[in-house]
């Protein structure tokens, strides 16, 4: 597992450096707007897509054909992509949180309660996004996977449209659940764990 993580980090390091440069204008934008959440969301999004970048690099060189000749289990190969995302998110949070706090401190925009609500929701959303993306990319590859993902993204919009009359009630119910927002990252992690089981089962059935 460590070997695969090291390899993925080495593979995407150039990409990460490039994206770190994009972070600079985002940081200025965030300070100007007095919105720490902008830079925070951006960092999370960038880190989530790193697992996809690593998968795309692997696909381009038929890495799976090679790595499966090495003494590494298929579960480790799949789990390494989940671990990569979690490790990067952890590093991202360590870097982003002081920045976000500083922006908030000087702009007084974000109340502490609101901050934790946003933080929990964003982390939960990032976990759910990963939980959705990784099995799709492992099953279909990066080109077909993107199409499947776009199709899947239309489903929530479609559902909202269909259930419009009930939607106001749903929003009220969710707002009542705000006090349980600290559970969201844990629910996200649980979904991520379920996703890893599905992705491993998919990968084990694949031929290379």
């Amino acid at each position: 597992m460590t070997a695969l993580l090291v390899k993925d980090l080495m593979t995407i390091q150039r990409q990460l450096k490039t994206q770190a440069f994009i972070l600079i204008p985002m940081l200025f934008f965030s300070i100007l707007m007095g919105q720490g959440s902008i830079v925070f969301s951006f960092i999370l999004f960038i880190l989530v897509i790193q697992a996809i970048t690593a998968l795309t690099y692997d696909e381009l060189c038929s890495w799976d054909k090679y790595v499966n000749t090495l003494p590494i289990t298929k579960s480790e190969i799949v789990l390494s992509k989940y671990m990569l995302s979690l490790v990067l998110m952890l590093i991202g949070l360590i870097i982003a949180l002081p920045v976000v706090f500083l922006i908030n401190h000087f702009t007084n925009d974000w109340e502490t309660a609101n901050f934790f609500l946003t933080f929990n929701l964003l982390i939960g959303a990032a976990f759910c996004l990963l939980a959705l993306i990784l099995p799709i990319y492992i099953k279909y590859g990066s080109i077909k996977g993107r199409i499947v993902l776009i199709v899947l993204c239309f489903i929530p919009g479609l559902l909202i449209g269909l259930l419009e009359e009930y939607f106001a009630d749903v929003v009220i119910t969710i707002s009542k659940l705000q006090q349980f927002s600290y559970l969201v990252p844990f629910i996200g992690l649980f979904i991520l764990w379920l996703s890893s089981l599905i992705a491993t089962a998919i990968y084990k059935r694949k031929d290379f």
Partner: protein, 282 residues
């Protein structure tokens, strides 16, 4: 003991299948695995490595089932494909960092010695290396955990004769240890004539023969003649016949015919062509 044993391996695809393939590679020998493109060489190798799931049959490496003892077996094998399947943004030094975390027996000194020997740049990205350099890097990666068995799938295809010769020398050096074995898949038969002890020939997903190279090259002969002359050959001596440029050609067992018949020594390529394009009936 056999390094590789395959019994009745079957794997079907739409329009192609491996049909109950059986052959073995004795420990300490080099098996040349030949056949034209699409004959089933790579499919067989992928099944051997459990990259493809077989439908039925048995694949034993070092006497152990590849599916059951996959990780233990993969610790003792080195694999070289016709391409280097690693991310192109990595370089040889970064690959060392990866490999030493994969294999307990990874020998970084040996790896860097091979890179120096092959003149492979250590810090150049894979995408900046020539095809020959990539293959040499691939071979260094396959050798540096000191495997007992090398599985080579067209490692010399598309390379110039000088690089091919250097690579073959490496494999010969690997074979200095008598516990080492190689399965060498190629359609460049001259490479196999240099290095192989046995030749297994696959055609349309079937094994046509698996024989010692010396038997093929020294016991077989090509007789060229007219229909009348060929009719004088003893029936049991004839292996295959085919239409040649200047008449009929017959692949014969030399010790089954009289010395009065002049026969030429065949190459592995000749024998392949007899089996693919020839027929027993004239």
């Amino acid at each position: 003991m056999n390094a590789i044993e395959i019994h009745d391996l079957h794997k079907g695809f739409e329009g192609f299948s491996l049909k109950d393939i059986s052959f073995s590679v004795p420990q300490g020998t080099v098996m040349g695995f030949v056949g034209e493109n699409g004959a089933g060489k790579s499919t067989t190798i992928k099944c051997m490595l459990n990259l493809l799931k077989k439908e039925y049959g048995e694949i034993l490496l070092f006497g152990k089932d590849i599916v059951e003892y996959e990780l233990a077996i993969k610790n003792d094998i080195g694999v070289v494909f016709d391409e280097l399947h690693v991310p192109e943004t990595l370089n040889a030094t970064q690959l060392d960092k990866f490999m030493k975390r994969v294999f307990k027996t990874w020998d970084s000194n040996y790896y860097f010695e091979r890179l120096t020997q092959f003149k492979v740049p250590k810090r150049k990205k894979v995408k900046e290396l020539s095809r020959g350099m990539r293959m040499k890097l691939s071979i260094a990666l396959a050798l540096s955990h000191h495997p007992k068995l090398l599985i080579l799938d067209e490692p010399t295809s598309g390379l110039d004769p000088i690089i091919r010769d250097e690579i073959l020398d490496l494999f010969l050096a690997f074979m200095q240890d008598e516990t080492h074995s190689i399965l060498f898949s190629s359609h460049i038969t001259s490479d196999l004539e240099k290095i192989a002890d046995y030749i297994t020939f696959i055609h349309n997903g079937e094994i046509l023969f698996s024989e010692s190279k010396d038997v093929l090259l020294y016991d077989y002969g090509i007789f060229k003649g007219t229909n009348e002359e060929i009719s004088e050959l003893p029936e049991q001596a004839i292996i295959q016949k085919r239409e040649g440029t200047f008449g009929l050609e017959v692949l014969v067992l030399k010790n089954e015919i009289s010395e009065a018949f002049t026969v030429e020594r065949p190459t592995i390529e000749d024998i392949m062509l007899f089996f693919v394009k020839g027929s027993v009936q004239p």
